[in-house]
């Protein structure tokens, strides 16, 4: 967890001004975490990605996904390209079913 903590710390430093701006000076409000609230038998509550998270995902896609897809289309076999595209959707774009 320690690496995780500072990884997030770094990103939070970069995003801190934006977070503060979006919060408009208000104190952060606690929101229930659907993962922790889950109980057996209850359907998992799908999460709505926040604006910030969507922005980050879009950024990642724009910077990495495009380059990778272009490179893969040129280099790899069609089967690998499909796997790659699927992997991008699973890891960045979509929720796990």
């Amino acid at each position: 967890m320690a690496c995780c903590a500072f990884a997030i710390y770094l990103v939070s430093l970069v995003l801190w001004p934006l977070r503060r701006m979006l919060r408009l000076g208000r104190e952060p409000q606690w929101q229930a975490d659907p993962a922790v609230e889950w109980r057996p038998g209850a359907p998992a509550t799908p999460r709505r990605p926040s604006v910030l998270r969507r922005a980050l995902q879009t950024l990642l896609l724009a910077l990495g996904g495009t380059a990778v897809l272009a490179g893969t289309a040129a280099v790899a076999a069609p089967q690998q390209a499909r796997s790659l595209e699927s992997a991008i959707h699973a890891s960045i774009c979509g929720e796990l079913p």
């Binding site: 903590a5 500072f6 993962a35 209850a42 998992a44 990495g64 990778v68 929720e95």
Partner: protein, 639 residues
């Protein structure tokens, strides 16, 4: 233990602290050489009076976006969004190992500036402005580094002053190690353990109750799975070594979940944009210690705790991407990847994401080697620990004596954020106990000012709103649960109680249907808190170096118990008999308890069962009926 052969003086900080290690120095020299070459190449079009497009592109090599300065006028303003985009690309590089991102932005901006230049003359003042900007950035970093170095030196001075006394306190205050034959989960601990069991006993393909945000950084499923596995292994090895049943199912389910491609196929992307490898995405080959090290320790810990060695079988840990693409692995090949990467690790440590070397992930890596040695009698720790420790002290120690959080393998540049000593301490207790004690001696002394007291007792008053790395939300759950684990490992009852009290105060504890959770903490923070709540002195290190007692693995064992109807609080064998404690999970009643590992045909007494005597089957099995009402003991002994 091989670690004992290393010379390590816990009362002193490394003399190499704050100095540039040989590997770092070499890589940094290469980085500066490449940049100076870019500056020289970028200056050539100006010196040779080449076309404006070449001049703008050349200037763009000096600094991201500097090429736009050459266009003059309002075009020059484009340097600002370029620098912002470059910063974002650095985040992408850091976040997901996207090495191509900053390179693409830097060179792409230079190319765009060059193409926009056309035939109009360039602004002749632009090289001076660009040089000024570069100098300003450089001087600013230099001033910041100097300030940090001075502050670090002062911290180091204080640490060296208090270390001898603090080390003595760590020894004096350490609670005794528990008697392994007497351990029993309390109802509170069972309620906490059930948080994990509820999530791990659901179908393998289901991830309900897991945080799903991204699969790159700390909220990734893989880290949640590993930490849940660590907690279950500690419970298995120390409280329930003679119980298979739902504990085994839960742990095997977790390992099976990990093999789901949705958990590990981030590596496909990172291989492409980090290694430029578009064909072979084997997750247990080059780098990726965040998978091999963590998962290796997890699987190894499970095998040590349960005696189930099925993951030594070839192909038992197969990473299947599609019907046609799969990478068959097992525990040996997983650890083989860690071993081979360490063979060539210039820094003594190697990378998680392509390019980024995290010492903390290398602690998991060394822990995985520890489990391999314990299971198979190898000496991988002895083989790699000297270079690992040398790397830690020479390449990853800042002026304060703290471990540098991460370093870029390709540029040698550090990210100077001090990771807390407590986070490293309990890992090192498994393979480098002298340094582990030093890390905890530093951590506990520096955490001490946070101790607050009122009528309810002491608690850790954490400053600010905190940040839970497991769900990227405000909160102290991640930090407090890590402190709890570290304090428990070193038998520091005062700090452990204070951390637990703080969790109870600020993380919104809740108990529903007999399951305890912290609502204001992420899933991984909850899993870590369960681990800490179960632990006593030395449990973490002992679980990953010894596992379950041999008598328990060889003796009678409870094969099943209906979850959550039957909650097993204790299962212990002296090799011939069996002692167990049950609680009802749903209500009192008669339950069947199958037992294996008995001597075939032998008569046994069963105190606490409805049949006071029974004879084991030719297969050494028996099924007992037990009326479970409150705390219920079952004692099986040869008649």
């Amino acid at each position: 233990m091989t670690a004992a052969t290393l010379t390590f003086a816990p009362e002193r900080l490394p003399e190499t602290r704050g100095k540039t290690g040989p590997a770092t120095a070499r890589i940094q020299r290469r980085t500066w050489t490449i940049w100076l070459a870019m500056v020289a190449i970028g200056a050539l079009p100006w010196g040779l009076g080449m076309a404006p497009g070449w001049q703008a592109a050349g200037l763009g090599l000096w600094l991201p976006g500097a090429g736009f300065l050459a266009l003059g006028g309002w075009w020059s303003v484009l340097i600002v969004p370029t620098l912002v985009l470059f910063l974002a690309s650095l985040v992408a590089w850091f976040w997901a190992g996207a090495v191509v991102a900053p390179v693409t932005v830097w060179l792409g901006a230079a190319a765009i500036a060059g193409s926009l230049a056309g035939s109009a003359p360039t602004w002749q003042g632009s090289p001076f402005v660009a040089a000024g900007l570069v100098a300003a950035v450089g001087l600013s970093f230099r001033a910041r580094n100097r300030k940090a170095a001075l502050a670090g030196a002062e911290t180091a001075r204080k640490r060296e002053a208090f270390l001898p006394a603090s080390l003595a306190e760590v020894s004096a205050m350490q609670a005794a190690q528990p008697d392994p034959a007497k351990r029993e989960l309390t109802p509170d601990q069972i309620a906490r353990l059930r948080y994990l069991l509820d999530r791990t006993l659901q179908p393998v393909e289901s991830f309900d109750g897991f945080t799903i945000i991204d699969q790159f950084q700390p909220a990734a499923l893989r880290y949640q799975i590993n930490h849940m596995g660590f907690a279950l292994a500690v419970a298995q090895a120390n409280y329930l070594p003679s119980f298979a049943g739902y504990m085994r199912t839960a742990q095997r389910n977790l390992i099976a979940k990990y093999l789901d491609r949705r958990v590990w196929d981030y590596w496909v992307l990172e291989s492409c944009w980090g290694h430029l490898n578009f064909t072979d995405w084997d997750p247990a080959a080059r780098d990726n210690i965040m998978l091999t090290g963590w998962f290796g320790a997890h699987v190894g810990g499970y095998m040590l705790a349960s005696g189930d060695t099925s993951y030594l079988e070839p192909g038992s840990l197969t990473f299947r991407l599609s019907d046609k693409r799969a990478w068959p692995h097992d525990f040996r090949t997983l650890i083989g990847s860690v071993n081979s990467n360490y063979e060539t690790a210039e820094f003594g440590h190697y990378a998680c994401e392509p390019n980024w070397i995290y010492p903390i992930c290398n602690h998991y890596g060394m822990l995985s080697l520890t489990t391999h040695d314990a299971l198979l009698g190898s000496d991988l720790v002895g083989r790699h620990l000297p270079a690992w420790l040398r790397g830690l002290e020479t390449e990853f120690t800042d002026t304060a004596g703290s471990t540098v959080g991460l370093r870029s393998q390709y540029t040698g540049l550090p990210v100077p954020f001090p990771v807390g000593e407590a986070g490293y301490a309990f890992f090192e207790n498994a393979f480098l106990p002298a340094r582990a004690r030093q890390q905890w001696a530093i951590a506990r002394r520096e955490i001490e000012p946070l101790l607050a007291q009122d009528d309810a007792g002491e608690w850790l008053a954490m400053p600010g709103e905190g940040l839970d790395a497991g769900n990227y939300r405000p909160g102290h759950g991640g930090m407090l649960s890590t402190l709890l684990v570290a304090a428990r490992e070193f038998g520091d009852t005062r700090m452990a109680d204070a951390a637990l009290a703080a969790l109870e105060r600020v993380c919104m504890p809740a108990i529903d249907d007999g399951v305890h959770r912290y609502r204001k903490a992420s899933n991984i923070a909850n899993a870590t808190a369960v681990l800490g709540a179960l632990m006593e002195t030395g449990d973490f290190g002992r679980t990953f170096t010894q596992g379950a007692p041999r008598t328990c693995l060889a003796g009678p064992k409870i094969e099943a118990a209906a979850y959550p109807d039957v909650l097993v609080a204790r299962a212990w064998s002296n090799g011939t008999g069996l002692e167990a404690v049950f609680y009802p999970g749903k209500g009192e009643g008669v339950q069947t308890i199958p037992v294996s590992g008995l001597e075939p045909g032998r008569c046994y007494t069963a105190s606490g069962a409805m049949d006071a005597e029974f004879v084991a089957s030719p297969a050494g099995e028996a099924t007992l009926r037990v009326r479970i009402s409150g705390r219920t003991e079952l004692v099986i002994e040869p008649a």
